[in-house]
Amino acid sequence: MLDLRLYVLQRISALVMVPFVLVHLGVIIVSAQGGLSATEILSRTQGSAMWFLFYSGFVVAVSIHAAIGVRVIAHEWSGLRGGALLLLTWTTGACLLGLGGWAVLAVTLGPS
């Protein structure tokens, strides 16, 4: 159920995620080790174009990568195919994009 286009999309999104994941893990470690409170973290992210662009890119890459991965698993484990499989792929991608985008807006919108 993977043609060349989906395969390339999934590989590229994986490649794009590598720096995102590394920086994200670094951010978590620095925040936890530094003992930053939620308010202090938000004060750094809100109004920051850099964090908005960083996490928006991350969410887009995850949405593409995970939607294609779920598509493959659903087909191989449940035999789903055709329109139903297409719908699942797009729904998974849209949900991740929507939820992730909402989270990004929540932590980056607001006073700088």
Binding site: M1, L2, D3, L4, V8, V72, E76, W77
Partner: protein, 242 residues
């Protein structure tokens, strides 16, 4: 005739497409006994209606492949003493292919996928043209030679979990054939092969589990061939868009 001092239990999966059952036989143990010997002994001495397929008995034709204790193997080249588990042997038809009767499977889907993968020669010259010399050292020839000895036994196809989960997947053997042709300087259909292996059942569905490579009776490496196809199709994709 050596005296029979020991027997072992062999379970054979039997039946037709509409259902199967397991039947157990006590088979006398012999020196240098192969799994094909066991199946033939059952057919000749206990139940002549047992259906199975074989031809050469020496690992040349690839027609006697079956599941032996859960693994696909050439039964003519599998020594019983090497696969017996607690004096028990289980023989079943090849996985991933429809059963015709007992241990004989329908190979049509397997060969249809060879055609689907463009796994046949596309001549670049006619019979009137002189034969094109191909150096054995030619890099493409070296790559093609690595997979050219496949005898279509379907052991890799039966071992492949991706085929089990995805009935459209072309499978290791067909893709390996496509890879050998892609690297054959005498083959004239490179774009068609790349297009055929890039469709929804193509090489990109392979999870690189490597059951094909681990189970190939002659030590070929279909997984490496599929990796080569993934690389070539991805590069051709960027060349097209570039």
């Amino acid at each position: 005739m050596p005296s029979i001092t020991r027997t072992f239990t062999t379970t054979v999966r039997r039946g037709r497409p509409d259902g199967h059952f397991n039947e157990t036989f006590e088979v006398p143990a012999r020196e240098s006994q192969t799994v094909l010997d066991v199946v033939s002994w059952i057919q000749q001495n206990i139940d002549p209606t047992l259906s199975y397929r074989f031809s050469c008995r020496v690992g040349m034709c690839g027609s006697c492949a079956m599941m032996v204790n859960g693994m696909p193997r050439w039964t003519c080249r599998t020594q019983v003493k090497k696969v017996l588990r607690n004096d028990r042997l289980e023989v079943a038809p090849l996985r991933n292919l429809p059963v015709i009767k007992d241990l004989a499977v329908d190979m049509d889907p397997f060969f249809e996928k060879w055609i689907e993968a463009e796994g046949f020669h596309h001549p670049s010259r006619s019979r009137e043209d002189p034969i094109e010399p191909v150096s054995p050292e030619n890099p493409g020839r070296v790559v093609a030679d690595a997979g050219i000895e496949c005898i279509n036994c379907s052991v890799c196809y039966a071992a492949c979990d991706t085929v089990t989960g995805n009935r459209d997947f072309l499978g290791p053997a067909a893709l390996q054939r496509a890879w050998t042709l892609l690297n054959d300087v005498r083959d004239a259909a490179r774009p068609s092969i790349l297009e055929a292996v890039s469709r929804s059942g193509g090489c990109h569905n392979c999870h690189s589990i490597a059951s094909c490579t681990a189970s190939c009776p002659i030590g070929l490496d279909p997984m490496a061939a599929i990796a080569g196809l993934k690389r070539e199709t991805a590069l051709s994709c960027f060349r097209k868009s570039g």
